[in-house]
Symmetry: C2
Subunit: 210 residues, 2 copies
């Protein structure tokens, strides 16, 4: 029954996301998933291999959605940016727990090969964005911006909001019980802000008085 393996992975994402890799014990995990402690090692070999399988599985499932947008010749560069932002916000908001797990791993940078795997699996997304911005600059549709740091701004804005709920609530001036990531209005707000930020930054002439 591979359902059980999937079930363990699901619970593992949940626990790793809230307690970190070191902070999550196999006993905790086994209890939460309602399986015997030995089952984790039986299925995955080790705690670390479980983590790797978890990362690879999730990363593979959402790859190359962005490249389609990048290669869609019916769209202008700024329209592509809009679509990329929408896709990215949507993806990260829905998979936010998993996203938190892999960013924890990326930041702590302990298990070296795993960190590299994560960086590699995330990089295609950044590359698609890079292609789009570079194309826009070549077409004279965009200003001659710092491409790499512009991408850092897109990703960084979302991560800043998403990675720490505690800080996000401070920033938004909301109570502890509010969960912004489940509020569609907030998702739209992030979308609108990012799109506007990028239009301001990328397009050659912005005459948005208001």
């Amino acid at each position: 029954m591979t359902d059980k393996k999937e079930h363990i992975i699901d619970i593992a994402i949940e626990l790793f996301a809230t307690k970190g890799f070191e902070g999550t014990s196999i006993r905790d995990l086994a209890a939460a998933a309602d399986v015997n402690v030995a089952m984790v090692n039986y299925y995955f070999g080790s705690k670390e291999k479980l983590f790797e399988e978890l990362v690879q599985r999730k990363a593979a499932s959402s790859r190359n959605l962005l490249t389609e947008i990048a290669n869609d010749s019916s769209l202008t560069a700024i329209e592509k940016i809009d679509k990329v932002i929408e896709l990215y916000v949507e993806k990260i908001f829905t998979n936010r727990k998993f996203h938190r797990v892999i960013h924890q791993e990326l930041i702590t940078n302990q298990r070296e090969t795993l960190t590299r795997n994560i960086a590699d699996s995330m990089f295609p997304n950044a590359l698609s964005m890079k292609t789009i911005v570079e194309e826009g600059i070549r077409n004279k549709e965009f200003k001659n911006v710092d491409v790499q740091l512009t991408i850092a701004s897109i990703l960084g804005t979302i991560n800043q909001i998403l990675l720490s709920k505690t800080f996000c609530l401070r920033l938004l001036d909301k109570q502890e019980d509010y969960v912004p990531y489940e509020d569609p209005k907030f998702k739209k707000r992030v979308n609108d802000h990012l799109k506007e930020l990028m239009r301001d930054h990328l397009l050659k002439i912005t005459n948005n008085p208001q």
Copy 2:
């Protein structure tokens, strides 16, 4: 000899930053600081209290530098933003290891009160930025942007660059041995990008052809 206490804190920052809180054992720390294992508990009471003291000490040392800028009436709003960016980039680049430690803690969100302390100690900075942007909007110098998310973009851009060296190197297309955070050219580049991004986003009319 309080020098020894300081020394332990210094080493602790180093180790926590590279191996995380859970990943750093008191024995590792004691060995690296060349003191007996018992000394950490003797001085700090516990591993967690050491961490708290570490955070409080660092946070207190750099507080309210931004409020001065916010209250400087001789500067326009966009000039204040420029100064804030400069100060923030400088501060985070030089204290990047410590910055990484507290962000790990913020993201993992395990020791609840500590996470709150960190969020609280970081928040005044965000608040200063908020004041500046809101004032600029009131003065009609700035567009009517989403203030909170604009701050998220400033902080997020820097964090995106700084928190994971592995991903940063991928983004910059550099070799593994390059350390961007020690390259003054790169620091200037981040400054320039952020300032331009914010001018584009905040100022009412941007006629920056090229």
